[in-house]
C-alpha cells in the first residue's frame, strides 16, 4: 500500500529527490560559512581601498593604502618578524619527531608520559604567554636563575628589541612541538612492522633506518605537521598580545598583530589600512592554502 502510494506521487520532489536533498543538507552550513567567512574576505579586500574609521562614511582612496604600506617601516618590521616566526617555528617539526621517537616505547607508564608531554598543547596561548612572561622575568624568573647558576646575568628577554621575538617564538614552540609530537607518535604507530623487520635484515640501523624506511612512511604525518606549523606561525597573535603587546617600540609585532593595532586599538581606528595589512597576510597564506588544496586534489583523484 505504502509502496503503491509512493509510486503514484511522482511529484517534482520525488523525481528530483537525490538532486535536491544535498542542497537541503548544505543549506545551514553554507549559509553561515558564506556570511561569516567567505564574504568577509572579499569585503576586507574591498575595504582596503577605502579610508574608514568604522563609523563615518567610507572614503575611496584607490591604492593609497597600499602605497602607504610600501613606505611603512612598521610594516617591514612586522613582515620580517613573520618570516623569523615561519623559519624558527619549523623547528617544531624535527623536535616533535625527536620527542616522538624518544617516547615511542612500551615501558610501563609510557602512556602517561606521552599525554603529559602533549599537555602544553591543551593550554590556552594566554596561559602559555603568562607562564613564559614570568619565566623570562629578569629579576626572579626561572630563566634568570638558570643563567645565574652558570654565572651569567640574564638579559630582559621581553624588554630587549633584539631578543623579544625569539623569546616569544620559544614560548610558541612549546605547545607547537607537543602538537607535532602527537602527529608523529600516531604516524609511528602505523609504521609497517614488516618493512622495519625487512630493513633490519638488510642491516639498516639508526639513521639509515630512520631516513630510508621510517621517514617515507611518516610522510602524511610530516605533511600535516608542516601545514599546521606554518598556519600557527602566520596566525601568531595571542602570545604577542599577552607578552609584549608588540613592544618594546613595536619590535615584536607581526602582521596579524600590527593589523589589529592599526584597525582596533588606542592607536586609532584605521579600518581601511588595517584591511590592507590583512589582505597582504591573506595573500601570503593563500600560497600555502593553494599548495594544500592542490595536494588534497591529487589525493582525491587517486582515491576516486
Amino acid at each position: 500500500m505504502a509502496v503503491a502510494s509512493y509510486k503514484n506521487h511522482k511529484t517534482f520532489w520525488h523525481r528530483n529527490r537525490i538532486a535536491i536533498t544535498p542542497w537541503l543538507f548544505l543549506l545551514p552550513g553554507l549559509f553561515m560559512f558564506l556570511i561569516y567567512v567567505i564574504l568577509p574576505i572579499f569585503q576586507s579586500i574591498w575595504i582596503s581601498f577605502y579610508e574608514w574609521d568604522g563609523l563615518s562614511p567610507k572614503n575611496y582612496v584607490g591604492f593609497e593604502n597600499y602605497l602607504e604600506l610600501i613606505d611603512d617601516e612598521n610594516f617591514y618590521t612586522s613582515l620580517k618578524n613573520n618570516i623569523i616566526w615561519l623559519i624558527l617555528y619549523m623547528l617544531a617539526v624535527p623536535v616533535g619527531l625527536f620527542i616522538a621517537l624518544f617516547l615511542n616505547q612500551t615501558v610501563t607508564g609510557i602512556r602517561i608520559y606521552k599525554s603529559l608531554f602533549f599537555f602544553p598543547f591543551v593550554l590556552s596561548q594566554i596561559v602559555v604567554g603568562l607562564v613564559f612572561t614570568w619565566f623570562y622575568n629578569p629579576a626572579n624568573g626561572i630563566f634568570a636563575i638558570i643563567l645565574g647558576f652558570f654565572g651569567v646575568e640574564a638579559p630582559s628577554i621581553l624588554g630587549n628589541e633584539d631578543y623579544v621575538t625569539y623569546g616569544i617564538i620559544a614560548a610558541g614552540l612549546w605547545p607547537q612541538i607537543a602538537y607535532c609530537m602527537i602527529l608523529f607518535l600516531t604516524g609511528l604507530n602505523n609504521v609497517s612492522p614488516d618493512q622495519v623487520e625487512a630493513g633490519r635484515l638488510d642491516n639498516a640501523k639508526g639513521w639509515k633506518m630512520l631516513w630510508y624506511i621510517i621517514l617515507p612512511q611518516l610522510r602524511p604525518a610530516t605533511f600535516i605537521a608542516i601545514v599546521v606549523t606554518v598556519i600557527g606561525a602566520l596566525r601568531s597573535f595571542d602570545l604577542i598580545s599577552i607578552m609584549t603587546q608588540g613592544g618594546p617600540y613595536g619590535s615584536s609585532r607581526v602582521l596579524a598583530y600590527y593589523m589589529y593595532e592599526t584597525a582596533l586599538s588606542e592607536y586609532g581606528y584605521r579600518m581601511g589600512y588595517g584591511a590592507t595589512i590583512a589582505t597582504i597576510l591573506f595573500l601570503i597564506m593563500m600560497v600555502y592554502i593553494t599548495f594544500f588544496l592542490w595536494r588534497m586534489y591529487q589525493q582525491e583523484k587517486e582515491g576516486a
Binding site: 574576505i41 596561559v127 579600518m271
Partner: protein
Amino acid sequence: MFPKPIEKSSEALQRTYKAILPIALFIWLLPLLAVMLTSIRSAGDINAGNYWGWPTEFNLINNYTDIFLNSKIGLYILNSFKVTIPTVLLTLTISCLTGYALAIYRFRVNMFLFFVFIAGNFVPFQILMVPVRDLSLQLGLYDTTTGLVLFHSAFQTGFCTLFMRNFMKALPFELIESARIDGISEFKIFRYIVLPLVRPALAALAVLIFTFIWNDYFWATVLVQGDHALPVTAGLQSLNGQWISQWQLVSAGSIIAAFPPVILFFLLQRHFIAGLTLGATKG
C-alpha cells in the same frame, strides 16, 4: 616498531632510559610546575622574593578563593561556558549535515564546495576581523556571547565539515544504497543509519572544538568589550593588568582558566588525539 624496543637492549640502557624519562618530563613541564607552585604561595613569599624555594606556607585555598571573591573570574568562566557549549552543539549539527551532503551525494560542485570549506578554515583571522565586527554591530550581536557563538560556529564548520566528510566517506556505501532500495527517505537514512555510525567522530570533534573555542582569545577581544560577556582568556588578560606582580593570583587564575579543557582532555584523551591526528596516518 621503531626505534628498537628498549626491552631488547641491554639492562644498563633500559635503566638509563627509565631514569631519563622523568627528568625529561620535569624539564618539559618546568614552566608549568613553577606556575602551580606559585599559585599556592603566600603574598609574603612573593614579596620577599621567595619564588623558587619551598613555600613558607601553603595558601592553596586562600589564593584560589581570593581570585573568585575579589575578581570577576567566576563570571568570565561562566561566559566561556556560554560561548563554548552552544558553539560545540551548533557546529556539530551543521557539519554533520554538510559532511553528509558532501560525502554521500554526487553533484557537480561537490568538490569545489568541499575545497571552499577547507580553504576557509585556513584563512588568517585578520582578513575577517573588520567585516565580522561590523556585521555583529549591525545585527546587535556585538558584545554578546551569542555573537561569538555564531561566528565560531560558522568558522569551525570548515574544519568539522572536512572531518565529517572524510569520516562518512569511509563508511560502507552499500548501507545507504540498500536503504534507498527499501524506500527509506533520505533524511531517515541520515538520521537512523549514518548518525549512529559517526558517534566516534562526533566525540572527537566535540572535545577538539571545545578546547579551540575555550582557548580563543582573538575573537573574544574583537567581538566583546564588557565584563558581562567576556570569556576567561580575555578576562585573564585584563586581570593580569590589575594584578601587577601579584604572581600568586596570576598563576592561580591561569590554572583555573586552563582547567576545563585540561579535564576534558584527560577524560577523553583517545577522542581528542583521534581528532587531532586525522590525516596523519593515511594519504
